[in-house]
């Protein structure tokens, strides 16, 4: 039986090279039993190669992969205790839904009566009960994906691998499937490993996310940690949207720090950052963590002044761009230094979007715990 205290998948110093191209570069990571793990990264970063190596469709050039403590070297895909949901779903077009789902069971030698029961159970799980005799070409993309899910889940794998599972669905269905996949994962208790390039998908579904960049793990963290405490510029920029300013670390004490940014001014933090004094650093500031005011609206500015001395964590500028997105309005503001900054503002009431217009002079502030100082 699976030992819940041990990682279900151990990837140890795995590299994969295709000729001269290194797709995966010395990656080591553990995936815990029962978690929803997401490999997130831009296209071509090596995340799919990593997933395909777990499934056994690609062999590591170096390193090893252990599933449930067992080394997978030399074990072909059809002998591995994992199943995969393909990006194209790969539902067999010449078989009915029931035959698709029963395919793996029949090969495993499961008896007829049990096959029927388990197929029905799996189809109920993905809400496709009653679709047994349908052919795949009579189904929508979303339904075909559910068939692919049922076909894998019916095998009761130790790990379910999902390759960009939602990329082919429209936006509404994708949001719904994000919830359903999380719910399904909780219900069946199987470890899910998903590959995606979509940060919303990763943040909404994952227990933990590994951000992959150029074949390497940039950061491995829980979704909120990844968003609020990115480890480097790549993660800060790839997960969510962000303003990044270059600066020099001028003050670094256990309870406060300051960075002098030529583009943004002096940025104060209410915590230390443990970097060498005078080092080149980057300050990352999320657009939604910046408050926007018409100049002279004193109250909010005073609040900022309490956070940071001398009226810092404060900037002035002119609105150069606006895009109204319904729930929020996105502003692009040219600062007095000439740098540009993005600010988002929730439309809390129906007429909020009328407060500002192009070329308005505005001021903005942010809390001293909002900026993130990045060393790399």
């Amino acid at each position: 039986m699976t030992d819940p205290t041990k990682p279900i998948i151990q990837i140890q110093n795995v590299s994969k090279r295709f000729g001269k191209v290194t797709a995966v570069d010395n990656v080591s990571l553990d995936i815990n039993a029962g978690e929803f793990f997401v490999l997130l990264g831009p296209s071509g970063c090596g995340k799919t190669t990593l997933l395909r190596m777990i499934a056994g469709f690609e062999l590591p050039t170096e390193g090893r992969i252990l599933i449930d403590g067992q080394d997978m070297a030399g074990i072909p895909p059809n002998k591995r205790p994992v199943n995969m949901v393909f990006q194209s779903y790969a539902v067999f077009p010449h078989m009915s839904v029931a035959d698709n789902v029963a395919y793996g069971l029949k090969i495993a030698g499961v008896k007829g009566g049990e096959v029927k029961d388990r197929v029905a159970e799996a189809l109920d799980l993905v809400k496709l009960g009653g679709f047994e005799s349908r052919m795949p070409d009579q189904m929508s993309g979303g339904q075909r994906q559910r068939v692919a899910l049922a076909r894998s889940l019916v095998m009761r794998p130790k790990v379910l691998l999902l390759d960009e599972p939602l990329s082919a669905l429209d936006a509404k269905l994708r949001a719904q499937m994000q919830f359903e996949l999380s719910e399904l994962q909780e219900k069946v208790g199987i470890t899910f490993v998903t590959v995606t390039h979509d940060q919303d998908e990763a943040l909404s579904m994952a227990c933990r996310i590994a951000v992959i960049n150029k074949g390497d793990v940039s950061q491995l963290a829980a979704p909120s940690d990844l968003y609020e405490y990115p480890a480097n510029r790549f993660v800060a920029d790839f997960v969510g949207s962000v303003n990044i300013f270059e600066g020099k670390l001028t003050l670094d004490e256990p309870d406060k720090a300051a960075v002098d940014c030529p583009g943004l001014g002096k940025v104060y933090l209410n915590h230390g950052v443990t970097g060498p004094h005078g080092a080149d650093v980057w300050v990352a500031l999320r657009p939604e963590k910046i408050y926007l005011h018409v100049p002279g609206a004193g109250k909010a500015v005073t609040a900022a002044a309490q956070d940071a001395p001398d009226g810092h964590n404060f900037a002035r500028g002119k609105i150069k761009g606006m895009s109204y997105l319904g729930d929020i309005t996105l502003f692009e503001i040219e600062l007095e230094t000439g740098a540009r900054i993005r600010v988002s503002r929730p439309n809390l009431s129906r007429h909020d979007q009328e407060d500002f217009t192009w070329d308005d002079k505005v001021s903005m502030h942010w809390r001293a715990d909002s900026p993130v100082v990045l060393l790399g």
Binding site: A55, F57, P76, P77, N78, K79, V82, N83, M84, F86, Q87, S88, A90, F92, P93, H94, Y103, G104, I107, A108, M135, P136, D137, A148, R151, S152, M155
Partner: protein
């Protein structure tokens, strides 16, 4: 550019298609119609044929002697098609899964025989298979070698080598026809396999199926349109094969096309030859009709 629909631009469409239509009409349909009319005619003298509407030619063509030749032609063509399928399928699979670098060269290898005239290729094959050919020489050398090895360990040597009769029999006809028709089988199979979504094969492996089971249950059913196309494109020309049985066959391995040829040439019985020709054409029509009536396999999306 504006939509060039044949419905909106009837004049252009007619102008472009007229030469082709004319060509097909004049050089294909008209001669066929003449031959078809001849099949209802009688010989009157050496060159005169009277179209009398008689069914006598068809009556003769369906006599037992000719039916057995038809039957034998079918059997040979079917056997050739089957061998081509069994040999060609792994070849097509190998080309499909070869690396990008190798695939064009392998395809070129399949098409290379088309660069040489069929007659020359057939003679080359005959040189290979003759009693003094390379095949027999190779087998002879093996035989002598074995015999020598036996004497070496103190056993009785084998009797002297008698060349195997590889030519001028039914074996030679089947061998030659397989050789000629194999590319016709491989190319449609390759086209069908190449379109197959690779993730379907991976999904089958992922669900625990081995390679053989994946081929039988996923690849073959989904390549069915290509298999049927390959079978038709091999079976129909093999059925009408004339040159190969003529050159490589023995006295008992003549196929229906050889009989037809004799009616038009040596026997100078055009009406009877025409009737035999049209029986063959009707048989092919039936094959094609059966193929188009089969249940459509859903395409992989």
């Amino acid at each position: 550019m504006a939509e060039q629909d044949w419905k909106t631009n009837k004049g252009v469409f007619a102008a472009v298609s007229l030469p082709t239509l004319f060509w097909v009409l004049l050089f294909f349909l008209v001669p066929m119609a003449i031959v078809w009319l001849y099949s209802f005619g009688e010989n009157k003298g050496l060159t005169d044929i009277e179209i009398s509407g008689t069914l006598e030619n068809y009556k003769r063509a369906t006599e037992w002697l000719y039916l057995t030749i038809f039957g034998k032609s079918f059997a040979v063509a079917a056997l050739v098609t089957l061998i081509c399928l069994i040999v060609g399928f792994p070849v097509a699979m190998a080309i499909t899964f070869a690396s990008e670098k190798w695939r064009p060269w392998l395809l070129l290898g399949i098409m290379l025989p088309f660069w040489t005239n069929l007659l020359i290729r057939t003679y080359a094959l005959m040189m290979l298979l003759g009693t003094q050919g390379f095949a027999n020489k190779g087998l002879g050398a093996l035989w002598e070698g074995t015999s020598w090895l036996k004497t070496l360990v103190g056993l009785q040597p084998l009797p002297t080598w008698e060349p195997v009769q590889l030519l001028f029999n039914n074996f030679a006809v089947v061998f030659g026809l397989v050789y000629v028709h194999l590319p016709f089988m491989v190319l449609p199979l390759y086209a069908a396999l190449d379109r197959l979504d690779r993730s379907l094969i991976e999904a089958s492996l992922d669900l625990g199926a081995g390679h053989f089971r994946t081929i039988m249950r996923i690849v073959v059913p989904l390549a069915a349109p290509g298999i049927i196309a390959g079978v038709m494109i091999t079976l129909i020309p093999a059925l009408g094969a004339y040159l190969t049985p003529d050159l490589m066959g023995g006295t008992d391995s003549q196929m229906i096309a050889n009989v037809i040829e004799r009616q038009f040439k040596k026997a100078n019985d055009w009406p009877f030859g025409a009737a035999l020709s049209f029986l063959l054409i009707y048989a092919m029509f039936i094959l094609i009709a059966l193929q188009s009536m089969r249940k459509k396999v859903p395409e992989a999306s």
